[in-house]
């Protein structure tokens, strides 16, 4: 559109834009690869009293109805929540679709439709994945509490702390969700004129505070969930022994 | 001839799209007129966006004792009783309704605990009176008016400079100008015109004003035959930035002092104790500006020729919350963290109290069909303006000008535009392209600014003013030889030629009036006449054009009725 040429704009931009993109590609790609492998592995997900978050809730463990890894039955939930997440969308549109690679970096010209057509129009279902995520969170809290119950009674192992940290980070990630913030308060135009307006305003304020750190929680919980699974796998496969603290 | 320019026709043409112009447009449209509004910049960029403190209106939301009478008294006192009393009365009475109107058009002011518009204290106001939105009240106001006007369907002509008013048989018939974008000429036919072009700060080098504030409206009115009044009263805001050079003059809001900021000289003395021990830093703008100026002149100034203004004794979080834009302004532009150390400040040319002489009720100038509102008009503020009274001025008199211009237009047939006037305007506009005299407009501008700063500044004296008159005359000669290269396409050098003509006219008017007023009053301080003079307290300087020359005469101020007199009795001469 402008009469200064595209190349002039390209040449003018100092600094390398891909330095922001490469870490996202490596980490998201790496996590994806690891999670896929682990989901199909169908083993080493249980090391009493620890259950890998990739396999929670554990369904049909004895393969009565489902011959494959039980993780495959449930991973769609958390995966959908993250895939439609307002933060991850930004991250992967930039890193994997170069749409745009970084701000003011020229893109290839093509038919762009944003989130108005299939498949990206499905991003609008984020709130439903959020509802599903509540169920998963409930199970993960159940697992984390269960991780205090050793065969010999109450105890704390390194694995307990790992699972607990993970579920806390996941809860923060969940609590900072844009859809949640909208539904619990943001959708009101006038808190003072609505039923329970005061409570919804303070809820919205707190969620807004968390929301500012949504990116941080997204990455932290991604690491923690991956690490929790990895830890359970190490213990379960006998590669290491869980250290009992208490 | 018609192929050389385009023509637009409106009942009411408004020149200037700041607060006053937009408010006038909305009202004229509401009264059934077809309205065009012309502005030199893009819509929404006018200087109104820079207003920080608030809109003064006696709504009594915070201080229940406030009412229009107190506001009226404060305004008269601030203006050293040179104000047009009727304007001050109308202003104080109508300001609250004008603020409520803004709210009804979508403006969102800061709120009191019981859900009403919050008001804050400001210099010279007896009560908490300034309706505000943090420190960006002007932005809120202009956006609200802009959206309202656009929704109602005003025709906006952006980036268009008017260089002449056209008249027909002693009344207004239109305006001539050019598009900044391509330099082509345009003629607006109109039955009435409202001037809302703002002030004249760009005639001084150290100013808080943007490039637009070149006194166009006053010069246009003067050229067309209307009278100007009180041109000697130029307000220097006491606190502008002084360092680094690029931001010299940039405004440091009065709210810094309102929040407890302390002024010190380089020896660490709190010098306001010597100038106004009672009100200290919160004295009126003229007093504080003179105090800082004097400190610097007598060798107690800071490294860069200013005073220290310190707010760092307040908690850092408080400063950032109350003065966010000041915090960022100093951090980003001057590498100063105002929560940790003092700012360097000095006086900066800020506001023009004088301007086109208007009738209080209608904002009508002395030329039939020509109206003026806002900073371009004179009368409301007298010899010194109180902070916060400017935004309310724009609303109150913008609205009145809109009504009057629409009503006037209803009674008129379309006047014819005189092709001889248009030809002359064209020749004048194009002349700089045809000369090869190498007189550069930027250099001429710099010389004019230097003259005004050194000779017609905060303190004035007979021989300086005489010398300024001589220099301005010489600059006017040079202006006849201005030459410019390049095309008519968005050519800032050429644009400056037109602006310079206005600046030279108003500079001459300011100097003439300053020379005549042999007393010190408000913003006008004469070293050779340091006191009030009761005779001068009862007369205004009037500038008009007689036989192509600028002529000056004095006219008595209108007599205030008894009941208003009572409101301000015992105050005369106070607060010099």
């Amino acid at each position: 559109m402008a009469s200064a040429s595209q190349t002039a704009y390209q040449a003018a931009r100092t600094g390398s834009w891909w330095t922001q993109v490469v870490p996202v590609v490596v980490i998201l790609g790496g996590f994806g690869a690891y999670a896929t492998w682990r989901a199909f592995e169908g083993a080493y997900f249980w090391a009493a009293p620890y259950l890998s978050p990739f396999y929670s809730p554990l369904i049909d463990i004895h393969h009565r109805y489902w011959p494959y890894s039980p993780a495959l039955l449930i991973l769609g939930g958390p995966l959908g929540f993250r895939a439609t997440c307002y933060y991850y969308r930004k991250a992967y549109y930039r890193a994997f679709f170069l749409d745009p690679g970084a701000c003011a970096v020229p893109e290839r010209k093509r038919d762009y439709s944003g989130e108005t057509r299939f498949p990206f129009i499905l991003q609008n279902a984020h709130r439903y994945f959020m509802y599903v995520a509540i169920i998963f969170l409930a199970f993960l809290w159940h697992d984390a509490i269960g991780a205090f119950r050793f065969p010999d009674g109450f105890g704390i192992g390194v694995g307990t702390l790992v699972l607990l940290a993970n579920v806390i980070l996941l809860s923060l990630y969940f609590g900072s969700c844009h859809s949640l913030r909208h539904l619990l308060g943001g959708k009101l135009d006038c808190f003072s004129c609505s039923k329970f307006g005061g409570a919804r305003h303070s809820t919205w304020k707190s969620l807004s505070f968390l929301n500012e750190h949504h990116m941080l929680f997204a990455w932290a919980s991604l690491f923690s969930v991956g690490f929790a699974d990895f830890y359970v796998r190490l213990v379960s496969s006998g590669a290491i022994r869980d250290l009992r603290i208490l | 001839m018609n192929d050389k320019f385009e023509t637009h026709e409106h009942d009411v043409l408004i020149i200037g799209a700041g607060g006053a112009g937009l408010r006038a447009a909305i009202e004229a449209l509401g009264h059934g007129a077809s309205v065009g509004i012309v502005c030199k910049s893009l819509l929404g960029k006018a200087h109104t966006v820079m207003a920080e403190g608030g809109i003064a209106a006696a709504m009594a939301n915070v201080d229940a004792a406030d009412d229009w009478r107190t506001h009226f008294g404060d305004t008269m006192r601030g203006g050293k009783f040179l104000n047009n009393w009727r304007m001050a009365q109308i202003h104080a009475q109508e300001a609250p309704d004008r603020v409520r109107e803004l709210e009804q058009w979508g403006a969102l002011f800061d709120r009191t605990d019981d859900g009403r518009i919050l008001q804050r204290a400001f210099g010279g106001h007896s009560f908490k009176r300034l309706c505000h939105v943090g420190d960006r009240t002007g932005l809120e106001m202009i956006r609200t008016l802009q959206d309202r006007g656009v929704q109602m369907g005003i025709d906006v002509y952006m980036e268009c400079t008017i260089t002449r008013l056209l008249s027909d048989a002693g009344r207004i018939s239109g305006a001539f100008g050019y598009w900044r974008e391509n330099g082509r000429f345009v003629v607006f036919k109109a039955k009435s015109i409202v001037l809302a072009t703002g002030g004249i700060g760009k005639a001084w080098p150290i100013t808080s004003n943007s490039w637009e504030y070149t006194g166009d409206g006053m010069a246009l009115a003067y050229e067309a035959g209307a009278e100007l009044m009180d041109m000697e009263f130029v307000q220097f805001h006491p606190t502008g930035m002084v360092w680094p050079p690029g931001v010299q003059g940039l405004l440091v809001t009065e709210a810094v002092r309102g929040e407890g900021g302390i002024l010190r000289n380089k020896n660490g003395e709190r010098f306001m104790e010597r100038y106004d021990p009672k009100r200290m830093e919160l004295s009126t703008r003229d007093v504080v500006a003179r105090a800082i100026y004097t400190e610097v002149k007598e060798g107690r100034g800071t490294e860069h020729g200013g005073a220290f203004l310190d707010i760092s004794h307040k908690p850092a979080e408080y400063v950032k919350r109350k003065l966010p834009s000041m915090y960022h302004q100093f951090l980003e532009l001057a590498d100063v963290d105002i929560t940790k150390g003092p700012m360097e400040v000095g006086p900066t040319c800020h506001y023009m109290m004088g301007g086109v002489r208007v009738e209080a009720e209608t904002a009508a100038s002395t030329l039939p069909g020509l109206f003026a509102a806002g900073e371009v008009a004179a009368g409301l503020h007298g010899a010194n303006r109180l902070g916060g009274n400017s935004l309310s001025d724009l609303l109150v008199f913008g609205r009145r000008a809109g009504v009057a211009a629409a009503e006037y237009a209803k009674k008129q047939s379309v006047a014819s535009v005189d092709s001889a006037q248009i030809d002359a305007a064209e020749r004048e506009a194009l002349a700089p392209f045809e000369r090869s005299t190498n007189e550069n407009p930027y250099m001429l501008h710099a010389d004019l600014q230097q003259t005004m700063q050194s000779l017609v500044g905060i303190f004035r004296i007979e021989q300086d003013l005489q010398s300024a008159l001589g220099k301005i005359a010489a600059l006017k000669e040079r202006a006849q030889r201005l030459s410019i290269s390049g095309s008519r396409m968005f050519n800032p050098g050429w644009h400056l030629c037109a602006d310079l003509k206005s600046m030279l006219t108003v500079s001459e008017a300011v100097t003439l009036c300053a020379l005549a007023r042999k007393e010190s009053r408000g913003a006008h301080s004469r070293l050779d006449f340091p006191k009030f003079d009761p005779i001068w307290g009862k007369q205004n300087n009037i500038i008009s054009r007689r036989g192509g020359e600028m002529s000056l005469q004095q006219r008595p101020t209108p007599e205030m009725p008894q009941e208003l007199q009572k409101l301000v009795d015992g105050e005369k001469g106070a607060g010099a």
Partner: protein, 243 residues
Amino acid sequence: MPNVTLRIFRGDRESGKTADYEIPLTPGMVVLDALHYVQKYQAADLAVRWNCKAGKCGSCSAEVNGRPRLTCKTRMDSLPQDKPITILPMKSFPVIKDLVTDVSWNYKVNKKIPAFQPRPGTDWKMWQKDVDRVQEFRKCIECFLCQNVCHVLRDHDKHEEFGGPRFFVRIAGLEMHPLDGVSRTALLKKELGLGLCNITKCCTEVCPEEIHITNNAIIPLKERVVDEFYDPVLRLVRKIRGA
């Protein structure tokens, strides 16, 4: 202080190229100061749009070393001085001349947005907690840097179908106004192409007023569009309530 070279776009709607100007640095100089220096001493006809020179009016937007910036707030000493500093006009709008672009498209889009209209019978009481959120949006100075950087406009030229971040911010301010009685969600979805935004946040990155455009304006508006058009449960609820 040393001299630096400015590499400025000179041209008009038809053609143009960059030209180099060497200027002396002064303390605290911003890019707009440097452009004014060029105007004064080297090219009187260099077209630059500016007003307040204090970051409050949003007129002097341009691209400095490839980054959309307000030139009045970009310090020269924040830029590398060993090579030329490139200053180009905003890319998403047609050039008029030099650094001045034709931003009239923005004013056209703005006209499509229904203005504030109070709910009937309001008593004009408003509380700070309801107003806070909207006041953030009303900080916008219309510098159009967000419009310029947004790839939907910049790279995909969707000017006909898309409103751009600036106007999503404006609509957010109207939709969340505690007393406003008009809905603009259909307008957002259909005419202003909110769905074209893929929330990649460049608008937020360049905003000189630090408005959280994506998190606080666009995403909440997307959620409101979902409420109205994509959430079957809420549609059902509305139907039952409405019946």
